[in-house]
């Protein structure tokens, strides 16, 4: 999808969500349609727009560090914000009356059950880890950079995998019921992504040939750019897991 397509899809999403949110609010369902949720949705949309439609997207094919930043925005900011906003509920409410039965149809072919299995903490952590690491294998990453369809698939699977990762923590209902379980989950997530960031930072050679051949930008050599990319994944990434701990632990 090009930028126009993404823009239209995002706007349509905002329109649908806002309509559903307003409708729920009119029915005095204030505990569901909170301002916080609306803000989370709009912010998630803005983050996706910045990641996929701004200069970040222009430079991601030249600089690995910028590409990494793009992924970070999607998986560490947009994904949890989107989950917090409960989009499916409000999108459905935003649809014309005749179409609102659509999600029931979906449930019939058991998508909901499949999703609920995938959102079990061990599965979600495992799957998000596997997807993150698999896409960073040089062949896969280079392929994504050379082919738009594979690239879109990469973004979609990253995003989906991290929607899954954040789900047990902030989705509804929360699957991680104790702080001890949340602790292990966040420590596991932070450790695996931090470790991958560390590997990229300290790799003695350029891992992705695409960036070796890309025009040099900003005076950074391909290796220095790669080190920066690793650090971008590693340092702020770990900070996000730490912050998530402070925000998601509950008083027990």
């Amino acid at each position: 999808m090009d930028r126009w397509g993404i823009g239209i899809a995002l706007l349509a999403g905002v329109w649908l969500y806002t309509a559903g949110w307003a409708r729920a609010r009119q029915r005095a369902d204030g505990s569901l349609a909170t301002r916080k949720r609306l803000l989370a949705y709009v912010t998630a949309t803005a983050v996706i727009a910045i990641a996929l439609m701004s200069a970040i997207d222009t430079f991601q094919s030249r600089l690995f560090s910028i590409h990494m930043l793009q992924h970070m925005l999607l998986v560490y900011l947009a994904a949890p914000l989107l989950l917090l906003s409960r989009p499916a509920t409000f999108w459905r409410q935003g649809l014309p009356a005749g179409l609102r039965t659509w999600p029931t149809g979906v449930r019939e072919w058991r998508a909901a059950e499949v999703l609920s299995h995938l959102a079990r903490p061990a599965v979600a952590l495992g799957l998000s880890t596997v997807i993150l690491w698999l896409w960073h294998i040089p062949t896969a990453y280079d392929l994504a950079l050379e082919n738009d369809v594979v690239h879109a698939l990469e973004h979609l699977t990253f995003f989906g995998a991290f929607l899954l990762y954040w789900w047990p923590l902030i989705g509804s209902p929360s699957r991680l019921t104790t702080n001890a379980a949340r602790t292990v989950y966040l420590a596991g997530g932070g450790a695996q992504s931090g470790f991958l960031g560390g590997i990229i930072t300290f790799s003695p050679r350029v891992l992705y040939t695409h960036y070796l051949n890309a025009p040099r930008t900003g005076g950074l050599s391909a290796l220095a750019d790669q080190q920066l990319a690793g650090v971008v994944m590693w340092f702020p990434g770990v900070l996000i897991y730490g912050l998530a701990a402070a925000l998601t632990m509950t008083g027990e």
Partner: protein
């Protein structure tokens, strides 16, 4: 005397305490294996490249310090949870931040090649020839995370005790202390609560010193500020590092105050000497770090003298209250030897001898000879392995046994003897090599020195056997204890 069931802590706190202590134990086990590697290298039995020796030494040192602190933090949380309502939200957050910080250190050393030592003096982190800027930064960021995790823990403890007793002066029992024990005796906190609060206050100061050291370093790395004054940086680094490791024993002492009574049948009360000792620790524990700077002739002489006085001064209250108090509790109590009780006695022994080793080396005249010899690691290995950590593992073993209801076999206590005997032999060879002026932090030992390390290897193997045995025994109890804790 058999162990009685202690007052259970809130289940959520207990589970988190188990996460803290089990993580601490696993890291301890792994870092112990790295210690064995270094001793094999010193003995010329296995040859590590200098680059790898220093990476391993750095990871071992920082990993052990972090693991030991973590285990004591977790244990004390379980103890405090018996009488106080600790917020599990912040206990859990502190763990995640701390754990992720430790991850930075592992990656900085193993992948990034950082090998400057667990305390690297200013300029070295950024001037290493075998590692780059990112490795140095990762190491320091890791320290920052660990420090922030510890700070969250300290503030949680302080907030909880102050709220429970209605003011800091009450937590530290000042009225009781000043009145010579005549007033304020009705609402005294327990000794573990006072010890934890003292650690929390001093820990905050230490972390602030660490931040004052780290933040300008980050500024320097980013080219925002000029070079730091090396002497100021060294003072801040040791105020942070030395105080942090020193505090570890007071956290662990809190575990002994709570556990020893269960094995002796005698209560450890908050007496006047206990309040005096812990308040003195509050005052004195910030001073001994100056003994790390005796060789720095530009440091003002009064500070050297203060270092010596502080080092002697802080040893006294600890000795009188915990060690003397502990031993007199055990005396004629019908004390039964089991894993926790053996480890607790080993801990009292290690604290005494580690402390004596430190006292000798903090004497200015002796330090001129012993400075940076293996005497230094000898003293802190005694103090940790057979002191703070022996207390922590005693408590972990006790807690797992109590929760799982598993009974102890006769043979089971052999694991603790192996730990004690192996550990004592290992540190003895460290002391002997220190006395023979073998330098610390040398990757390659000349043949004249190798004999000491060769003598230590069998003891280290016995120690590792003991640790492995304890690990298996505790693993067998863990699942049931976890269930019971949450019930």
């Amino acid at each position: 005397m058999t162990a009685r069931i202690s007052q259970p802590a809130n289940g959520a706190v207990l589970r988190l305490a188990l996460v803290y202590m089990a993580t601490g134990f696993v890291v301890f086990l792994l870092m112990g294996l790295l210690g064995l590697l270094m001793r094999l290298d010193h003995g010329g039995i296995l040859v590590l490249s200098a680059d790898w020796f220093y990476r391993i030494m750095t990871l071992h040192g920082s990993g052990m310090v972090a693991a030991s602190l973590l285990a004591a933090m977790g244990g004390l949380a379980a103890v405090l949870g018996q009488t106080l309502r600790l917020s599990t939200r912040w206990l859990a957050t502190a763990f995640v931040v701390y754990f992720l910080g430790a991850g930075f250190v592992i990656i900085a050393t193993l992948l990034g090649g950082f090998g400057g030592g667990w305390t690297a003096l200013h300029q070295l982190p950024f001037k290493g020839f075998t590692w780059g800027l990112w490795a140095a930064l990762a190491m320091l960021v890791g320290y920052l995370f660990v420090a922030v995790g510890f700070l969250i823990y300290c503030w949680l403890v302080l907030y909880t005790t102050v709220k429970r007793y209605g003011g800091l002066h009450r937590v530290l029992a000042w009225r009781y202390l000043v009145s010579g024990g005549r007033q304020g005796a009705d609402s005294l906190p327990g000794p573990s609560e006072i010890a934890a609060s003292v650690v929390a206050i001093v820990g905050t100061v230490a972390v602030l010193a660490g931040a004052a050291y780290l933040v300008p370093l980050f500024g320097e790395a980013a080219g925002l500020v000029g070079s730091l004054d090396a002497l100021v940086a060294k003072n801040l680094l040791f105020l942070f590092g030395h105080t942090l490791v020193n505090l570890n024993i007071y956290l662990a002492a809190g575990l002994v105050y709570a556990t020893l009574p269960l094995y002796t049948g005698r209560e450890w009360k908050t007496t006047w000497p206990v309040t005096l000792a812990l308040n003195l620790v509050l005052l004195l524990v910030l001073l001994p770090y100056f003994h790390h700077l005796y060789q720095d002739f530009v440091q003002a002489l009064p500070l050297h003298i203060l270092g010596q006085i502080g080092s002697y001064g802080v040893a006294l209250p600890a000795f009188l209250v915990t060690i003397f108090g502990g031993l007199s509790m055990i005396y004629r109590s019908g004390f039964r030897w089991s894993v926790p009780s053996i480890l607790m006695v080993a801990g009292l022994w290690g604290w005494t001898f580690g402390g004596l080793g430190a006292l000798l080396d903090s004497t200015i005249g002796i330090n001129q000879v012993m400075h940076n010899t293996l005497w230094v690691p000898a003293h802190f290995h005694t103090y940790y392995l057979l002191g703070a950590l022996a207390f922590a593992w005693a408590y972990l073993y006790h807690l797992l046994g109590e929760l799982s209801g598993a009974s102890e076999s006769r043979l089971g206590s052999l694991a603790a003897w192996l730990y004690g005997i192996g550990g004592a032999g290992f540190i003895l060879t460290f002391f002997v090599s220190g006395a023979a002026s073998v330098p610390r932090r040398y990757a390659v030992h000349i043949p004249e020195w190798q004999v000491y390390a060769q003598a230590s290897v069998p003891f280290v193997l016995v120690l590792m056997l003991g640790i492995g045995w304890l690990a298996v025994a505790m693993l067998g109890r863990f699942a049931q204890a976890w269930q019971k804790a949450g019930a």
